[in-house]
Symmetry: C2
Subunit: 394 residues, 2 copies
């Protein structure tokens, strides 16, 4: 889950006399050496214990190699899986010739540790620590299914990828999609991102454009000698203020679009008529629109607003929930409860772009992602694993 919550500042844990720690002044590589002393993963641990093990195996974005190595090694030990690797991304598949193939995917990186590693299990069954929610509990469920369901009713693809919490161009799922799109093929995909045990269908697209008006500078004491670019932006703001966003229903889910100025800037000096003004607009759109349609819509909304230039600054397409597909329907039945639409953009869109309907469904609670007090209820981990096993073996 990327960018939804502010990251806490990176901080070092306080020195403790009770645990072996690198001496002050030693940096992270030294800590990694300590971890390397136990660099294997035991997939016979139950879901909560495996989650704790993963949390205690630091893998901040950019430093996932050791964990990717451990995951690869553990999966290669399972004879029913074929394993591929691309960078620090690991993909494992069954090849049973089933009628359907489903993908279970998750990122193995976390935001920077904030004095919340190692993990701690309290008396109420709450597991605390960096990544407990986002999303080492989800990765633990993936690994548990991989290890304990050797003959699923659908062929399975497990995807473990890096760099989800950082810039989009580093995202491991994107790198796999570009280099080996066939590794991601399937009829349906589940990302085990924190969703508090609910199913979030598809995701909305997000388009950011810069709408620019221009004018002519002049001294503000002789404003009639120039042309005011900020005044020229008046129709843009009026159009935004009056805009009625759509709320289309797709696969039974009601999406909610939005067209918002997220920034505006203009001005040269306090005695100069501004010759340029830029309104930054973010269009969040439902998955019944393609990327081209989204751009065309924004262009149409502002068609007669006197804009001199419209620049597409950033664009990530929407993803259909695909809940009408048979694999998805069986999944919904097994999971129980209703799906809800996903308004924010997530990596399910990368599957959407490959024609694979996808949902978010994971044990973590997004409210606590990226927080110092990140935690997960161990009961949620077990429940999620049970539901997926039920779907894949029923």
């Amino acid at each position: 889950m990327r960018g939804r919550y502010p990251s806490p500042p990176r901080s070092d844990p306080p020195p403790s006399p009770f645990r072996l720690r690198p001496p002050p002044g030693r940096d992270l590589p030294s800590l990694r050496v300590v971890v390397m002393a136990d660099s294997t993963l035991d997939l016979t641990l139950d879901g909560p214990a495996l989650t704790a093990r993963l949390v205690d195996f630091p893998s901040v974005s950019g430093e996932e190699k050791a964990l990717a190595d451990a995951i690869e090694e553990a999966l290669r030990a399972l004879p029913h899986l074929t394993v591929d690797r691309h960078g620090n991304n690991v993909v494992a598949r069954t090849n049973l010739g089933r009628a359907e193939r489903v993908v279970l995917a998750g990122h193995i990186d976390t935001v920077p540790i904030a004095d919340n590693v190692p993990s701690r299990l309290d008396a109420d069954g709450i597991l605390w620590g960096c990544g407990t929610s986002d999303m080492k509990s989800g990765v633990a469920v993936q690994l548990r299914i991989a290890a304990t369901v050797p003959a699923p009713n659908r062929d399975l693809t497990f995807v473990f990828y890096d760099n989800e919490e950082v810039a989009a161009h580093l995202n491991g799922l994107g790198h796999i999609a570009e280099a080996h799109p066939d590794w991601l093929a399937g009829d349906f995909a589940v990302l085990l991102e924190p969703s508090d045990g609910e199913v979030e269908g598809g995701c909305q697209g997000t388009l950011r454009v810069h709408l620019r008006t221009t004018g002519e500078r002049a001294h503000s004491a002789r404003g009639w000698m120039g042309s005011n670019a900020v005044h020229a932006a008046a129709p843009i703001l009026a159009r935004l203020a009056a805009y009625e966003p759509r709320r289309p229903v797709i696969d039974g889910l009601e999406y909610r679009e939005g067209l918002n100025a997220v920034g505006i800037e203009g001005g040269v000096a306090t005695n100069v008529i501004p010759d340029a003004c830029t309104v930054v607009v973010n269009y969040r759109y439902a998955p019944d629109r393609t990327e081209d349609e989204a751009v065309a819509h924004v262009r149409e909304v502002f068609a007669d607003c006197g804009i001199d230039e419209m620049i597409v600054d950033d664009h990530s397409g929407a993803a259909m929930p695909g809940l009408s597909h048979s694999a998805a329907q069986a999944f919904m039945t097994a999971v129980g409860g209703a799906a809800r639409p996903k308004f924010g953009w997530t990596d399910v869109s990368r599957f959407g772009a490959l024609g694979v309907p996808a949902v978010n469904y994971g044990p973590g609670d997004p409210m606590y992602a990226h927080k110092r007090d990140e935690h997960v209820a161990v009961e949620r981990i077990t429940h999620c694993e049970d539901r997926l096993r039920s779907w894949l073996t029923g």
Copy 2:
């Protein structure tokens, strides 16, 4: 003349084998010692020669003391004048008991020297150098009148002040007005700022306000959870774009008002609904409005625009041209030609605030003020001096 033109970057003159200069590495105080070797002003020089002498006597803002000393010394040598001093500001007055008193005022500082000192007179009668236009030619005319008109038909007050080219709170005329307003008393004032030999009547006021709208932050994927402060600014821009500025005629001069956004700013991050937006508005208003009336007008214009806060950021009142006064009418007759309105704000407003009508009338050309190629036609200096002498002796 302040802020009308961009100041060129300060630069040192190239080393010259033909002139005595401080050795490299010596700083300005050393240069001042060189100047002190000839620290007197000869008021028997004609206007152009005295201008050249003043240009060759550097007095960049903040470094006017030596020139103020020289002016004070030269004026104290004139028995028909009483001389006062406040800081580096010098005021000299006749006390002949005339029915009217007029003020001739000018600033003695310049913008930083830009490789354009010492002065140079070319074969076409153009005098080049820092301050030739803004406004050592005007100061030369003041000094010439002071020295050569011992029995004027109106009592005269000569004001020489510092720090006009820098921040308003340093302005010497403002300091005199605050400490010794009686020194500036009079029926009419002429500032010898560069006006290309035309009379600029009064000046417009300038009011700058910040109009602030507020909203509530939310993730832009769930914009309906928040309230967009940039959208809330739409009525402000619409009002500005539709505004029809006044063009009132005062004392026969047509002023032109203006109400302009000179800046706009809003935005938190590209995925956040902005909770604040500020439009910076500059109102330039004609001298038939007081400062209070100007604020009330702006408040009224935006009354129903949903503004949460209006902050007056900067305000300098307008000044009436006062051309209907008898001293002014005699001045206009002597000078010849028509007056024009002054749209920008100038120091005449400081006289206006003291109830003294004022105009700009000086030999310099404002087009070349603050420029590396600053210059003045010597014929203009002589003409200006002649016209003023005619007015004050006719």
